[in-house]
Amino acid sequence: MIQYIIRRLIGLFFVLIGIALLTFTLMHLAPGGPFSTERTLPPETVARITASYGLDKPLPLQFLTYIWNISHGDFGISYRQQIGAEVSNIIFTGFHNSLQLGLFAFAFTIFFGILLGILAAIGQNTWVDYSTMGVSLAGYSIPNFVLGTLLLIVAALVVNPHLPANFQIPIGGWIDNAGIGAIFLPTFVLALRPTSVLARLTRASMLEVIRQDYIRTAWAKGLGERVVIIRHALRNALLPVVTVLGDEMGNLITGSIVVEQVFVINGLGKQFVLSVQQLDYNIIMGTTIFYAFIVVLINLAVDILYAFIDPRISYTKART
């Protein structure tokens, strides 16, 4: 098992290098650079700034320097957004809100997704099943930015029925200004789609498992319904569900970009969109690598979790 984890971590390292290289190449394919829009600057000044950031060096050298630096935890500084600020600081500040949102949404997804899936499976072809699956299909089909935008105005009107016509969402940020209570709406909106995915998957998986021979064996032992469902069916039914958890968690963290935009949350996603538009190289690189790092870590964690749930999986070559 430990061998397997080490192997995966080495693979992970190369994946991250690949992602860095890809982003780096793409970025430098873009016409212009971080300073090309500032027309007021005389060319000599631009050249001087460029040189001082080392951006005049050959690209391969720039890339290797960058890799060398991030391996030491140095993500460079921002060229445009907050000039001179440490990118690692910018990322961690932004990530604070994004992570909070992502984790809340993840907890919501796991809890409600699995619960609704089980309820629908147990009550197959009853109103519980139909309503759960109907809601989940809606949650799967309505884009979260549409729902979020509409819910926002509904929520605002509930809180204050006499909102001025020119009502705007506080620019300073949703979570920061309105406190922890305000996180519910963004969480719900962000989690709706993955919750629907999970509910449908759990239901299908439960229905598949309930028909298995070993469930019949469990009934034949005289076990009660709760024990049969929880001890015998659920664990097996969750196997395929666990495999998608990694992808869904990744989607939640990156998907928050849109929700951050809707609810004006100062998260990493908002920052990323801005820095891409300004070609703020180090923020783009840093954010991408950081996100990718989290996504691959989550996937690794899920694979390890899988081994714990399914005893048939062993990552060593021992018994078969």
Partner: protein
């Protein structure tokens, strides 16, 4: 509840007019139609028939494990004087696994892949015998030793995929016997196993039956499997019992054309090597639109006009021997013809065909 009254005149199990049907989109499938039989304590009953004849559905009905769209629509299942079909779910759960235990056909899929063998055995013991964790572990290890699994205490922590097919069936047997049941229902217990393993499992079951003094219902499509083990045999066809007799009588004196056909399609060690195996032609009937008359009539070489009009009732033809047929096969002309043909035919056995269809 009721004190167990197992005097010789009250049977341990008495199935009376059992009817189980499946309500499918294609129509109502009459899987078990008016089946009755008795089973004495300690007795072994074989139920024989081809796939879809209702033998498995009968056993599942006794355990009340019929899931929708299936439904038990009539009859009684008296176990020690109590009707299992009239019990509430809670009482029924105390019967399942404790009084009546069951083992299934495919040991590969009948064990939960994500629980250890130990857990799967101890959960019954904890539930029915109220043993606590430690005692349950000890009991589970004893059971594994009993069914012949080496170093049982160590293997309690193993998962099903770490056992071979035969070993898993032993585990299934251990699980079934864990609470000392009075009746064991074995639904095709050897079908999924290699021939050599089959013999071992059957041997084990016979030994444990005697040790535990339990009654056994052995369900199979293989007349060879029941031959050595059953005291009495029921032959089922299309949801009905067509013949019922003591095991020895059935082999020496079959009275139903279907039984006759089954026996002739199985190779026998004691028969002339040159005798030919004769398969039963045709397919079992559609159980949705059962035509009137004997369900076997369309495939039967003995069929008379009566066979197509009315279904024959099961009636006694000798001591402990009943049959549902309009014809007495011993006196029918076809019988002689077949026997003669069999003798004249000198072609060596080329194809062996199992009775199973």
């Amino acid at each position: 509840m009721n004190p167990a009254t197992t005097s010789s005149d009250t049977p341990l199990l008495s199935v009376q007019h059992l009817k189980t049907q499946f309500f499918t989109p294609g129509g109502v499938v009459k899987a078990v139609d008016d089946v009755s039989f008795d089973l004495q304590a300690g007795e072994t009953l074989g139920i024989v028939g081809e796939s879809g004849c209702g033998k498995s559905v009968t056993s599942m009905s006794i355990m009340r494990l019929i899931a929708p769209p299936g439904k038990i629509v009539g009859g009684k299942v008296m176990f020690e004087g109590r009707d299992l079909l009239a019990m509430n779910d809670n009482d029924m759960r105390h019967v399942r696994g404790k009084e009546v235990a069951m083992i299934f056909q495919d040991p590969m899929t009948s064990l939960n892949p994500t629980l250890t063998i130990g857990r799967q055995i101890t959960e019954s013991v904890e539930l029915h015998l109220k043993l606590n964790g430690r005692a349950a572990q000890v009991r589970a290890a004893e059971l594994l030793a009993l069914v012949g699994i080496p170093s049982p205490a160590k293997r309690l922590g193993d998962y099903p995929h770490q056992f071979s097919g035969g070993m898993r069936q032993r585990v299934m047997i251990a699980m079934a016997l864990s609470c000392d049941p009075k009746l064991l229902i074995a639904d095709e217990p050897t079908t999924a196993l290699d021939v050599t393993i089959q013999a071992q499992i059957l041997e084990l079951m016979s030994r444990l039956r005697d040790e535990f003094h339990m009654a056994v219902i052995l369900i199979t499509h293989d007349l060879g499997v029941v031959a050595g083990m059953a005291d009495r045999i029921i032959v089922m066809y299309a949801g009905h019992i067509v013949e019922e007799s003591l095991a020895a009588d059935l082999y020496h004196d079959p009275r139903h054309p279907y039984t006759l056909g089954l026996l002739r399609s199985v190779p026998r060690l004691d028969s002339d090597r040159r005798s030919r195996l004769i398969p039963i032609a045709g397919l079992p009937p559609d159980l949705v639109n059962v035509p009137p008359g004997c369900p076997f009539a369309p495939r039967c070489t003995f069929a008379v006009d009566e066979s197509l009009k009315e279904r024959p009732e099961l009636r006694p033809v000798a001591a402990n021997h009943s049959v549902a047929c309009w014809v007495d096969v011993r006196t029918a002309p076809q019988h002689e013809a077949i026997v003669e043909q069999q003798d004249e035919d000198a072609t060596p056995v080329t194809v062996s065909v199992n009775a199973e269809g």
